[in-house]
């Protein structure tokens, strides 16, 4: 069953067009990896789905309900949670309080403090520490845990691995695999291809605000993806756009 559907969605920041006529459909249980270079529009896509950015054109459906005009907090209550780029923990709140705030929607589901601590045992011993005192990896685990506490049906993740050591990234992705196995639909934005392609059931490549490639990870060749990622020789160095 289709869980998330974008129909011809266009997003602008002032005069800058960040996403152009984007259409996308995601089934329950899918794990979609969205790849693309800096500025390709990956975070913009997540902002549109989480509700932080409203499209200038097009519509967004979640479980066949039009959610185009819902605010972020309302979408969380419908089952869409975002782990934002840069993690954005509540720095002055403890780890446990961060998680409890995430659980404030009281959506039905199996996630609880204990379940999150089971998923990422290394944050349990830090549960009384403040968000601002954690290492990057711990912060990322708490950010994921906080999103899970709302029992999302669709979990959006923006650059989970950014700036983290490979060991930690492996732990985090181990956790995400477990989350996916419970049936949660994942949409992950990544620049780290190895980890993302390891879990993904589908891949979508963005280039300059457009979808340039989709498919399953096995069906796509390395060269196809590299071209999609960097564009042809022309646009490879065209990071400034009008």
């Amino acid at each position: 069953m289709t869980m998330l559907r974008l129909e011809g969605v266009t997003a602008n920041y002032g005069h800058l067009r960040a996403l152009e006529e984007m259409s996308l459909s995601l089934d329950e249980g899918d794990i979609l990896a969205v790849l693309g270079a800096n500025g390709a529009g990956k975070s913009t896509l997540l902002s549109l789905i989480s509700g932080e950015l409203k499209p200038s054109n097009g519509r967004i459906f979640f479980n066949d309900v039009d959610i185009t005009h819902l605010d972020p907090f309302q979408r969380v209550r419908k089952g869409i949670a975002l782990v934002p780029e840069g993690r954005h923990l509540f720095a002055s709140l403890t780890v446990e309080e961060n998680l409890l705030v995430g659980g404030s929607t009281r959506r039905q589901g199996s996630w609880s403090l204990d379940a999150v601590y089971d998923l990422f045992p290394f944050i349990k011993e830090r549960r009384r520490s403040r968000g601002g005192q954690l290492s990057g990896g711990e912060q990322q685990a708490v950010a994921i845990g906080r999103a899970l506490m709302s029992n999302p049906a669709l979990l959006l993740l923006d650059e989970v691995s950014l700036g983290l050591a490979p060991v930690i990234v492996r732990d985090l992705y181990g956790g995400l695999r477990a989350v996916a196995n419970e049936g949660t639909t994942l949409l992950l934005v990544e620049q780290d291809l190895t980890e993302a392609l390891g879990v993904a059931s589908q891949v979508l490549c963005l280039l300059d605000g457009r979808v340039v490639l989709t498919g399953s990870p096995d069906s796509l060749s390395q060269s196809q993806m590299i071209t999609a990622y960097f564009g042809d020789g022309e646009s490879a160095h065209k990071s400034e756009r009008s």
Partner: protein, 290 residues
Amino acid sequence: MVWTNAVVQGLLLGGLYALFSVGLSLMFGVMRFVNLAHGDFSVLAAYAAYVLVEHAGGTPLWTFAAVVPMAAVVGFFLQHFILDRALGAGELSPLLVTFGLSIFIESALQQGFGANNDSLFLGPLSYQSWKITNTLYLGRLEVIVFVVAVALISGLQLFLSRTQPGRLLRATADNPRAAALSGVNPRRVRALATAIALATVAVGGLFLAMRTSFTPTSGSNDLIFAFEAVIIGGLGSLWGTLLGGLILGVAQTVGSQINPADGILAGHLVFLAVLAYRPQGILAARNAAL
């Protein structure tokens, strides 16, 4: 001994100032603007109590039960119908709107009550005191006000740190974007903050009206004291606000002891000194937003 007396009286007064400050600091923490009508709401509460006593009689003490919940309700609707709109219209808007509100409240009160001093008289409680030593007397009312103020601030701090609504408030003050992404309704949180702010400043307004007197325009002074206490103590926790109130109170009474006309000035000087040498305030928590 006169100095001990000045300090003790200052502490008692400071507890009341802190009560004026908590709401200002709470609203600033959640919405990042200074409510310029904050002091006027304390005066509005005092007049509400005044009118209630005139019509229904009895001691002004009972009016707490009516005025404080009323203030909370007013705060809720003020946020919902006025401040939320102003917040959506840019950074300067809430300042302008609350400034306008302040002028409106003051002139409306002037229309209704004239420009004279009024007071909520409590009978003997207003002048009875406990004798501690030959030179140190503690006014009963002053002590009661102080104890209630400290208890209220402690209770509020407990509410913020221990309950789920309190956590959501702190989370929103800390990172509004992350709070919304965690499913917290920002409008609900803002309305809660303003309701608490108006309820606490109403308590302060009634106490001040019982301790001294009030006029339609005395809210502007209350706002300045509240603001100074917040800055002296430092944003970050209500304990900072309490400390700021106490320091301001002591500065004023010790200043008056030096020269009776200079009490208020001494308070301003301490405020300026803190601004110059420790702009984050004396007790600013390391990385706390509330």
